[in-house]
């Protein structure tokens, strides 16, 4: 498997990380090498093997339906780069 730079840019776009052409070129080589290396997994016979869902045996924990949290808008927005009256603020999004 080898990456072309268009694929790198496409993936970077999906991941919302701006990358320069130089970076894309470098990543193209590195990611190709890593994917080449993981190809060795194709040697493993996984026929009929269930994918792992829980690494230690346990059942999903559940909570009761009670309001136990919230009510602290100040704390929620305290670290926000931009906020106004407890709203988070971002550049206008067009739908």
């Amino acid at each position: 498997m080898s990456f072309d730079s268009a694929t790198v840019q496409k993936i970077a776009r999906l991941a919302r990380i701006a990358i320069s052409d130089d970076e894309a070129e470098k990543l193209q080589g590195e990611l190709s090498a890593i994917l080449g290396w993981v190809e060795m997994l194709n040697e493993v016979d996984v026929e009929g093997v269930a994918p792992m869902t829980s690494v230690t045996p346990m059942t999903l924990k559940k909570r009761r339906d009670e309001v136990t949290d919230g009510g602290y808008a100040e704390k929620v927005t305290a670290n926000a780069p931009e906020s106004d009256e407890h709203f988070f603020v971002v550049p206008k999004v067009v739908e």
Partner: protein, 492 residues
């Protein structure tokens, strides 16, 4: 592969410039699960609130935050699945649906993709023309709602409120079995009614508790499915109908001009009644679903499901059948009554232990008319089931006539009170004492010798005498008694 379950009645086809078109609609309804707290956090799920007030640090996706599932929401989803006569999956999986949006704080939505909690089911529709239409449910899955982006607060900024972020939703996906806007509206109405009966969603569309993504395509009858467009987040039943009608016409126009339909996401604008393509032409979505590693598969036992099934209330279809058989209601009347739980409960309170036919007439007649006039439910007209029942009792025991009852109904509506007291206080009691009626008849006969002669020639004139006697008794005389006595005295 989906096999089409139904044939469309050609009457439903949409006429085009060159031949008929068939409409195909599938709906994805997002219904907010009625619960106190959110799906994966302990913050309040209540509608409204100050900005970011119903938000926990889990909902705001602070570093290191983890989801813990609300057991009651799971129960609600199972209950809904049972109400949709659907398959309940004893093992389901929460997946992450990855995409970036400012009101999606985690950068992913926790949803169910491959293994939903509820599998195939059905919803039955009773159409006005008496037809019963079966709409297939493909699946129901649980997921988190996103927050709210407010675009009109500031000229160049979007404001984000996460109060809804993490609220539990059920996404109920229908098969593309719907063939008209009328059916689509009936489907959402019926679904809402089922959810309300179950108490799993309040169905309050103005507050966004229920929203529909509407998938619309058209085709020539008999052809395979056409390319569909998805109209996102339509938030009223009426708009669902309008959006479908506009969209079908738009697609037909394009196709008839030799064009083709782009599969795209569109928005419905209630002001113009039109749909438009979303402006943010996002690149093809690639949600990179994978099982959420912060959660384990959701598993429960058949016994637990059976327990919930045992607690299920009577649902609209069952109630409709029962109202028809117990009270002799017509299919249509029964359908109307069960659509709203409060209305059918009202009816049953009135009808229980009384003459069912009278109860139906009054509830579906005068009471419904008042309700429609006020645009409220039957239970909110202002007359309690006891009051209306009392009125019916007075008719049944012949204390008043049907005609007087209408007057008493108006009094109840305007002033309230106990029907029997009203009748007594206002002296509206029916006169059944034959002596008193006989006296009145004698008086009328004595005062009108010419009319007496006339009526012997033309027996149809008897009505005039009845009117005179009723007038003389202030409308309270029992009409049948008046008739009998008149006939005897006049020798008719």
């Amino acid at each position: 592969m989906y096999e089409e379950a139904r044939e469309t009645d050609p009457k439903k086809y949409i006429a085009g410039a060159a031949g008929d078109w068939e409409l195909v609609v599938g709906l994805e309804v997002h219904a907010q699960i009625s619960s106190k707290s959110k799906l994966f956090s302990g913050a309040s799920a209540e509608y409204g609130g100050e900005p970011n007030d119903h938000v926990s640090i889990v909902d705001a996706a602070m570093p290191g935050m983890l989801p813990v599932i609300n057991e009651f929401c799971v129960r609600q989803a199972v209950k809904t699945g049972l109400g949709l006569k659907a398959q309940i999956n004893l093992r389901s999986v929460f997946d992450r649906k990855n995409y970036f949006y400012p009101d999606l704080p985690q950068g992913y939505q926790i949803s169910q993709f491959k293994d939903p909690i509820v599998g195939p089911g059905t919803v039955l529709l009773d159409m006005k023309d008496g037809a019963r239409v079966e709409i297939g449910i493909e699946r129901l899955h649980m997921e988190q709602d996103a927050g709210k982006s407010i675009h009109d607060q500031h000229p160049s900024k979007t404001y984000v409120d996460l109060n809804r972020s993490g609220v539990a939703l059920m996404e109920i996906v229908s098969l593309p079995d719907i063939r008209s806007s009328e059916e689509a509206r009936a489907y959402v109405t019926k679904l809402r009614s089922i959810l309300r009966y179950l108490g799993t969603c309040d169905g309050n569309m103005e507050e966004g508790s229920m929203r529909a993504d509407v998938n619309v395509s058209v085709r020539r009858p008999g052809d395979p499915f056409g390319t569909r467009c998805e109209i996102k987040n339509v938030n009223s039943i009426r708009y669902v109908g309008q959006a479908i009608e506009y969209e079908a016409r738009r697609q037909i126009d394009i196709l008839e001009e030799g064009g083709s339909i782009d599969q795209e996401t569109r928005l419905f604008d209630p002001k113009s009644g039109k749909t438009r393509a979303m402006r943010s032409k996002e690149e093809a979505h690639d949600y990179r679903y994978f099982p959420d590693p912060d959660l384990l598969p959701l598993e429960f036992t058949r016994e637990w499901v059976d327990e919930i099934a045992a607690e299920l209330p009577e649902l609209p279809d069952e109630k409709r059948a029962r109202l028809m058989s117990d009270y002799g209601l017509s299919a249509y009347d029964a359908g109307v009554l069960v659509a709203d739980q409060a209305s059918s409960a009202y009816f049953e309170k009135v009808a229980t232990g009384r003459n069912a036919k009278l109860a139906v007439n009054w509830v579906m007649g005068d009471l419904s008319a008042s309700a429609n006039e006020k645009n409220v439910g039957l239970d909110q007209v202002g007359i309690s089931p006891d009051q209306l029942g009392g009125l019916i009792d007075l008719i049944e025991d012949k204390t008043i006539s049907g005609k007087i009852a209408k007057d008493v109904f108006e009094i109840l509506l305007a002033e309230g009170g106990d029907p029997r007291t009203i009748v007594e206080d206002k002296g509206l009691k029916q006169v059944t004492d034959t002596g008193a009626i006989e006296a009145a008849v004698d008086e009328v006969i004595a005062a009108n010798p010419d009319k007496v002669a006339e009526v012997r020639e033309k027996p149809r004139m008897a009505g005039w005498f009845v009117g005179q006697v009723m007038k003389a008794t202030g409308g309270k005389a029992n009409p049948k008694a008046v008739n009998d006595i008149l006939k005897a005295k006049l020798g008719l």
